[in-house]
Symmetry: C2
Subunit: 262 residues, 2 copies
């Protein structure tokens, strides 16, 4: 089980500058060289360097988190050591610890990074002036893209058991927030007639489940782009949720009890 040390140095954004010199292309050097140039804040004043350094630090920190996400995505959380992550960035473990306090927090940050994408989708959809079903479609599209991103795996597979209770609660709260957002859209759709009658809770579970599961198979089968997957799923969901003209006919196989209340 030889640990594969891929020797690429930390590369903040997607900067593909071939840094071959072992000493010259030190982590700090590369980052500063690429970042300090764009002084996008009005800064003819003191502590300019300090601000720049802080920005550098932020960029590097994000690089660490993204590297962690990729590693977790590839090998799983428990099979990834911090040495692996450090090696992927071509630094050593203490350097990673300089940017992040522990492994747990690393996982948490990956989770948050993924969630932000979903939150953004909600935000955008909120401004759309269309029936709720179409706003839901927009959200689910963003959701699908997020799940297929680098952070998708972390977002979907965080196991509460791996985290301290504090962080676990935090994550639960965020997940619940998203769940409630989807349920709300479904309810609104049922009210404005753009979605057929259904149980919002269970339907939200079903939708989120489908999308979350993308994180499990996407890595295997790259034949489709994230956007294509998103569209394919939306087509399916939209077909299923759109109200029917004919009166509803339950038609459940298996002796089922009355439709779930609530």
């Amino acid at each position: 089980m030889a640990r594969s040390i891929n020797s690429r140095r930390i590369r903040p954004a997607a900067t593909a500058r071939s840094s071959s010199s072992k000493s010259a292309a030190r982590l700090a050097g590369v980052a500063r060289g690429k970042l300090a140039v764009r002084a996008d804040a009005p800064d003819g004043s003191p502590w300019r360097a300090r601000r720049e350094r802080q920005r550098d630090r932020q960029v590097k920190r994000e690089a660490v988190i993204r590297a962690a996400a990729r590693a977790f995505n590839h090998k799983g959380y428990h099979n990834t050591s911090l040495d692996d992550i450090a090696a992927a960035l071509d630094v050593t473990k203490p350097t990673v610890y300089y940017y992040v306090s522990n492994k747990e927090q690393l996982l948490f940050e990956c989770f948050v990074a993924g969630v932000e994408l979903i939150r953004a989708a909600f935000q955008q959809a909120r401004n759309l002036d269309v029936p709720a079903r179409e706003r839901l479609n927009a959200v689910l599209g963003g959701y699908a893209t997020a799940v297929a991103s680098d952070f998708g795996w972390c977002m979907v597979r965080v196991e509460e058991q791996d985290l301290s209770t504090a962080m676990s609660n935090h994550i639960k709260a965020i997940k619940s927030e998203i769940d409630q957002g989807i349920r709300r859209l479904i309810r609104e759709g049922v009210q404005d007639g753009s979605i057929q009658q259904c149980d919002p809770k269970m339907t939200a579970f079903a939708l989120a489940g489908s999308l979350n599961w993308i994180a499990h198979w996407y890595r295997e089968d790259r034949s489709l782009s994230a956007a294509q997957i998103a569209d394919a799923f939306i087509t399916i969901f939209d077909n299923g949720l759109r109200p029917r003209v004919s009166p509803r006919r339950p038609s459940r196989a298996r002796g089922a009890p009355a439709p779930l209340a609530r």
Copy 2:
């Protein structure tokens, strides 16, 4: 992080015999006491005891696997030590190793146990003389119940990275078999007109994803029984898949490309 040692001895089926005596209620003793009585094979002959012992062994082995499944379900695979599993059965680690060769195999067995439930569902559905959509419903019902079972978590969360390549391939093959089975039913439904036109591959992914995801939240929210959940999901799916009388209107939000080919 004190490991909670619950001191209950191995209890093969769900036998709730209060075995308090530390030495008398030895694992073997309990098992034989409860199992040897039912001589369901015509056995007035030699080697009877031998057969009984083998049956005992099998029962105990299954108890180990079930205990492992529960532990994995509760704490996650990597956070569960074999000492934990042994403690749950009130035996020691070497005993567990006596019935199973290593932790990896334990996970694999849990997976298989779950899959068998799904296979059974396929088997039953095959004999139904109804449209494919209803056979699909039956399969999905069994699927949902399996995912909500003790083995659901293991079945759903096995990460190929945790297993040797041989076992990993084995599991992939089994998963693929199930996936293909669902796709086939969808195709048949489209052909016999009981399911509306759709992309079988993606639809199968969506359905399986929804159901797999049950394993993530079911443990939290026991307000519904497994059967209730299965029925609720079938209702949703059935609503979505049933063909529409009105001509199909794609109506995708977002500038989507032409519907996925194949």
